[in-house]
């Protein structure tokens, strides 16, 4: 446990918050890489996922791609792209890697969100005269939102983990402390940074959990108490 107090000492040392290597700068870099990559991945994958989910076309391909993508080692992908795109363009190469790694989760979240909807609901929407466009915007997207947020959540967490690894190519971010610490055998620095990374991941995960709950349409939330076994039934009765 001694190392943990050393890590705390490292974390709370005044020099940690000054200079070019300050903790807040590294956290900022980490979040910047994560959010920009998730946004680009979402811009590509959400329309594609909605197309697949709405039309049912290309479903097999989407499942195959998101399944196979899991086998690709993210660390190898970053290094490969850096060499392919050029050592002078490391941030670009890293962004491409992050986006590629984020797309499968978002894609899966988008199309499975639409696919999980009861077919009768969509048939009803069609029966009352909604156009396909209205069905998509007014029925499918709201109902599929929780699963889409879930997809964005896994993409974000995966990218946070990958940005950590990307410190190996000198990209900065919180992983930089660990990579530098490995070479210098500075275990207090490594542990301190690792704890910050874990905290960052948990906070992001918690935020997405909140958003997920927030975007669940009220009618859907009310109609699925049997699935939620983690809450006590008393709280549910009060909520209703």
């Amino acid at each position: 446990m001694n190392l943990f107090s050393e890590a705390m000492a490292w974390l709370f040392a005044p020099e940690r918050y000054t200079g070019a290597d300050a903790l807040q700068i590294r956290i900022g870099e980490h979040l910047f890489y994560t959010f920009v990559s998730v946004l680009i991945a979402a811009a590509i994958a959400i329309p594609l996922g909605y197309f697949i989910g709405h039309t049912g076309k290309g479903r097999e391909i989407a499942i195959g791609v998101s399944g196979a993508a899991r086998a690709i080692p993210s660390f190898g992908l970053i290094l490969l792209l850096v060499l392919l795109i050029g050592v002078t363009q490391k941030p670009l190469a890293a962004f491409v890697a992050f986006v590629l790694l984020g797309i499968p989760s978002v894609l899966a979240g988008a199309y499975s969100g639409l696919e999980a909807i009861d077919r009768r609901v969509i048939d009803s929407a069609r029966a009352v005269g909604m156009t396909e466009w209205q069905i998509l915007w007014k029925v499918e997207i709201p109902l599929g939102l929780p699963l889409l947020i879930g997809g964005l959540r896994s993409a974000t967490l995966q990218i946070v983990a990958t940005v950590t690894l990307a410190a190996y190519i000198g990209l900065g971010g919180l992983g930089g402390y660990i990579i530098a610490g490995l070479a210098l055998r500075r275990f207090d620095q490594m542990l301190g940074a690792a704890l910050v990374i874990v905290a960052l991941a948990l906070v992001l995960d918690g935020l997405f959990a909140l958003i997920e709950r927030f975007v669940t349409p009220r009618g859907v939330a009310a109609g699925r108490p049997s699935d939620v076994r983690t809450r006590s039934s008393r709280a549910r009765a009060v909520a209703e």
Binding site: M1, L3, F4, I63, G64, S66, G67, A68, R70, A71, I72, P73, S74, F75, G76, L77, L79, L80, V82, L83, L84, V87, P104, S105, A108, G109, S112, L147, G150, G151, R153, S154, L157, V160, A161, T164, L165, Y168, G175, I178, I179, L182, F187, M190, L191, A193, A194, L195, I197, V198, A201, L202, L204, D205, G206, A209, R213, R229, T230, R231
Partner: protein, 230 residues
């Protein structure tokens, strides 16, 4: 591609080492996740607790976990044990949820019938629930196996040699073919292991052969994790 032809021995050796590092976490994860998944399935209280914990463990970035585990457990950071334990934690985090979901997917009528003809809870689990939950458990095992094989490469950062060696070495020397060979070998090993698991599943669970149960198992990962820590 010259590099690959000249270094086939190295690639083969590292592949073997890679597989040797990947197997223990997969097996340990499978064995450990069965009782944990059962506890999560059986009791309301433990369900929320265990599955939330599994979800949280899974959010920890691999490099951070590899740094935190050694001082926590008092092992060397640069040991194989560190990587094995970290990967086992991820495997359990994935599989505990799928074991719980799998047991939940068993038709309650079947469970009641087994109880009615006199099965005790131990025999009910092993002879009825576990085999019937098999296909969904297998789906989780496949996800865990593939992600474990891919994550082994991160071990190179703490000095555990695997195919990840080709990444760092290839990067330092600027050899694209070397990194590419590493990525391809990891994917090939993952796909072969995945295929073997499907094959073993068919042998052990002959009743799944004719139905097209393979398809839902290919569902991508977010689905199980989505219902995670929420």
């Amino acid at each position: 591609m010259n590099w690959v032809v000249n270094n086939l021995d190295l690639i083969a050796d590292l592949s073997v080492e890679h597989i040797r590092l990947a197997i223990p976490p997969i097996l340990l994860g499978f064995v450990i996740s069965i009782p944990i998944g059962w506890l999560a399935f059986r009791f309301k209280l433990t369900r929320g607790l265990l599955l939330t914990l599994a979800g949280l463990l899974f959010t920890i970035p691999s490099l951070a976990l590899l740094v935190i585990l050694p001082p926590l457990l008092g092992i060397s950071a640069l040991s194989d044990a560190n990587l094995t334990i970290a990967l086992t934690i991820y495997a359990v985090a994935i599989m505990a949820r799928s074991v719980a979901d799998a047991l939940g997917s068993v038709d309650p009528a079947v469970r009641q019938s087994a109880t009615a003809v006199g099965y005790g809870s131990w025999r009910l689990f092993w002879a009825v629930e576990f085999p019937l939950a098999g296909p969904v458990i297998l789906a989780g095992l496949r996800v865990a196996a593939v992600s474990t094989i891919s994550l082994v490469t991160v071990g190179i950062l703490i000095g555990t040699e695997s195919l990840g060696y080709l990444f760092t070495n290839g990067y330092q020397r600027g050899i694209v073919a070397e990194i590419f060979a590493g990525v391809v070998m990891v994917v090939v090993i993952a796909l072969v292991v995945d295929y073997l698991l499907v094959l073993v599943g068919r042998l052990l669970m002959p009743w799944t052969r004719k139905q097209k149960t393979v398809r839902p198992q290919l569902e991508p990962m977010p689905l199980p994790t989505v219902r995670g820590a929420a």
